[in-house]
Point group: C2
Chain length 212, copies 2
Amino acid sequence: MTTAARPGGRPRGRPRGFDRGAALARAMEVFWALGYEGATMGELTTAMGINSPSLYAAFGSKEELFREAVALYDATEGTAVTRALSEEPTARAAVATVLRETARACTEPGRPTGCMIVVAALNCSQANSPARDFLSGWRREGDEALTRRLEQGVRDGDVPAGTDTAAASAFLGAVLHGMSIRARDGATRAELERTAETTLTAWDVLYGAERP
Amino acid sequence: MTTAARPGGRPRGRPRGFDRGAALARAMEVFWALGYEGATMGELTTAMGINSPSLYAAFGSKEELFREAVALYDATEGTAVTRALSEEPTARAAVATVLRETARACTEPGRPTGCMIVVAALNCSQANSPARDFLSGWRREGDEALTRRLEQGVRDGDVPAGTDTAAASAFLGAVLHGMSIRARDGATRAELERTAETTLTAWDVLYGAERP
DNA sequence: TCATTTCTGTGTCGGTCAGCACAGAAATCT
DNA sequence: AGATTTCTGTGCTGACCGACACAGAAATGA
């Protein structure tokens, strides 16, 4: 983001010869498929259709590009999950949508398997630990958002009072994170959907099915 | 393993100046902590207390060393889980031990967090995909061992007839895999133990608590 | 004793990594 | 038009990667 679009006129010098957003989307897919370390600059520039200096001019560095790619992932692939937490009327409905949507998103045909925020930088050298910690932070924020939604359910009365929301969120988080690994290992969508439904059944008996 | 110990005598040439098993144990810890790609030859040789040519003479290559390290991990850190599947009297007891032992092993003080078989080679470049596929195979074998134990439970009558053992195993596997990621993210032993107990409670209501 | 075998330490190999220097190209501003 | 600004393509750089050549050291066998 070196040049800001000025109101009422194009930027000064030679215009960029590629679509920054489209290139970022390609970079996201490469990082998603290969991980932060596994994606080389050569693979990124090839997929993005640009040369290395253009990438550095537009995005700063490999790590900054990765951070933007993760944000784009959250804003596109992660919308259904994010919206479920804010829009579903009950905690149970939110959990159901999150589980089912995760099963779907982790096994979308023609796309990399597993959630990018889980699988893109789990193990890496110390030199790249910032990228790993960055994704770890996103996972923790997801946990906290889920916990907040469960606490809201307690306040709303659709989750039993006295429920250990942190423990419930940790349990659900473990299932959700595990689904990504299993998707990477080749689990089918049907298997992940069964796991989602199993977890939902467990939810009903652990934290009370909602009574319509 | 270039020289075989001959019966009734030492091997011919200059004896190895280091303990092969001890060096392998150090290598296992490095791979466990940093992952296959994240661990460099320099970090490995430093931890093992040997120079690069000695490593290659004794283990063949980085990848062969990794395979031996994973086997050692399974034979040491994984024994409690493996034994639970063969020795516990009921499927429920086996599942309980596997869950609790995983929570413990993933948060052992002074050791890398998470299960090595889950976290050591999830995302890597195509060049190192053999290592990733190798670990994926170990995970699938773990799944199958768990599924067989549940099927045994059905035959023994301590798991309800008609139980979808594959689905139950996939659900448990997702929890177990997810626990490793959460351990890597800094989850405490107490949190993982709570997740294990939550999962066990779910097991009881999903597949029937055993009646003593 | 001395040839043979095997391991160790130094040094280095080709390959690849992320990142950038530099000059030319393409736009706007005066 | 000419100056200025910004982007693009070629090609390179130092660092690091896994792996190994080579000679010397340390053991055994004859």
